[in-house]
Amino acid sequence: MSGVESAGGARRAPGWRAWALLAPLLAWLLLFIVIPTGILFVYSFCERDELGRVVYTFTGESYARVFDPIYLRIFGWSVGYAALTTAICIVVGFPVAYQIGRARDPWRHRLLLLMMVPFWTSFLIRTYAWITILKQEGLLNAVWQALVPGHGPLDLLYTPTAVMIGLVYAYLPFMILPIYGSVEKLDPALIEAAHDLGAGQLRVFSAVIIPLTLPGIAAGTLLVFVPSIAMFAITDLMGGARVPLIGNVIQNQFMQARDWPFGAALGMVFMALFAVVYWVLGRWREREEAAG
């Protein structure tokens, strides 16, 4: 996979100018990511007093509670939903991204904009529109019962199916856009060459197109999977809030339960888990790129 992929060795050692250019990013990271995380870190070791205030005593009690089977189970569900959403988004979104990427110039931007415009309405209004569509006396059931008379209405709303529809709907653009960014630069000559060499459509797809757009797919996976683990608004609105996810639980600790230290601890463990996995994957990819 050389040639088109940039080789790791072409990267230079940074001079002081490069560090200076990186400084704004570093400053932003420090001020608005590191320090807030630090604040949460401090909270996670604190205690909650009778009135719900944070008391600055040092205790690992919150962390012990994080590893309760209840929360591990909930975390598992959250990851499961996120994984399924990501998988569906890849399957549904890749063809669309490919289509937009290879479209001619005016259409390319029009399609992009056309795709994003629905998301510039308000989230709540959109979700309530979905509720109107999926409810028992709603549009979908009206069509369904017209097509299949005699069958009762579909019980879609407030089920995991509705939640999946909502999640895929919400995250699809975040899969399509990065893949589009990768597809757009795909050189048609390569595909032509593959065809010339006698490869069938499917072979061209799996052996040429997918590997070349892999960075885009990987980016899309990251941008869908990771945020969707902490997502809870859609399960609340379209799933009837029947299945608590990790996002709900953390939210609750700052809201109803008024247990900030526990919420912070849950958050820290959650983020630490992610950070470790992400860092390991990053190192693995570095080694792959250097070798390849």
């Binding site: 990013l25 289509q99 709540l124 048609p188 960075p215 990053g282």
Partner: protein, 271 residues
């Protein structure tokens, strides 16, 4: 890039059936994306106050939106915040992606992990921790604090998208530019950025969308003057989402499409 290469694309994309399938699938997905939009626009003409029951056709909500100052103000705030957020996020994300790609910084792994943290941090944690930070620093809440929060959770998306495209970029491009006498900055601005444009556009669209609809972080970092649309909208659910909001959304969609159509028209005139 029209002409020969687009012809090659048509050939390269394979037999007509494949192209037809691709086009139809895109159509299906777009229909899926627009289904709730059509419903919400339809209900903006609903005479019933409770948006879930249909009671008759009316333009009344559009009239009411036009006179509802707090809602329009909130919409204006959302727009301003989203635009500024997008610009800052694009600058931060693109520059960051490029620097991390081109140079082997020490601690790059840690930097990239930190960049990814806002994507995974639950919004309530980000909101409260930012508020505590601002309060401790004595910084009053307002547009600045909201934009800081919005940029923080959206610039990683830009960075990841641009980085993905950089991964497939031919290093020879920059080398060639430098060989031809360009400074690294010129090479970046005149050669690399145009190549990155689709990814930057993708990132900008994501950042704008994220900022536009964000609720929780905004709640903790905004004041009355900088209240955004989601803040105003969310509480309205308690008494039933007012169809005014449907009307507002419909107006915004029409305005966006009109804006785009108009600028495309201008571009064609300029040609």
């Amino acid at each position: 890039m029209e002409g020969p290469s687009s012809t090659r694309w048509r050939i390269a994309a394979g037999p007509g059936l494949f192209r037809l399938a691709l086009g139809s699938w895109t159509g299906v997905v777009l229909a899926f994306l627009y289904l709730p939009v059509l419903v919400l626009v339809a209900y903006s003409f609903n005479a019933s106050r409770l948006a879930v029951v249909w009671e008759g056709f009316t333009f009344g909500w559009y009239r009411e939106v036009w006179g509802h100052t707090p809602l329009l103000q909130a919409a204006r705030n959302s727009l301003v915040i989203a635009v500024v957020t997008t610009v800052v996020a694009v600058v931060l994300g693109t520059a960051g992606a490029w620097l991390l790609h081109r140079y082997r910084f020490r601690g790059a792994g840690a930097i990239e992990t930190l960049v990814a943290i806002p994507m995974v941090m639950p919004e309530i944690l980000m909101g409260i921790s930012l508020l505590v930070l601002f309060a401790t620093a004595g910084m009053p809440l307002g547009f600045t604090t909201v934009i800081v929060g919005h940029v923080t959770f959206s610039f990683p998306f830009v960075l990841v998208a641009v980085r993905a495209r950089l991964r497939g970029l031919d290093p020879a491009l920059e080398e060639a530019a430098l060989d031809l006498g360009a400074t690294p900055l010129q090479a970046f601005w005149l050669v690399i950025v145009p190549c990155l444009r689709p990814a930057i556009v993708a990132g900008a669209l994501m950042a704008f969308t994220l900022s536009w609809d964000e609720l929780i972080v905004t709640f903790f970092t905004a004041n009355a003057a900088s209240a955004t649309l989601p803040l105003r909208v969310f509480g309205m659910a308690k008494v039933g989402l007012n169809p005014m909001l449907n009307a507002l959304s419909a107006i915004f969609i029409v305005a966006t499409v009109a804006f785009v159509a108009f600028s495309a028209y201008l571009k064609r005139l300029a040609r």
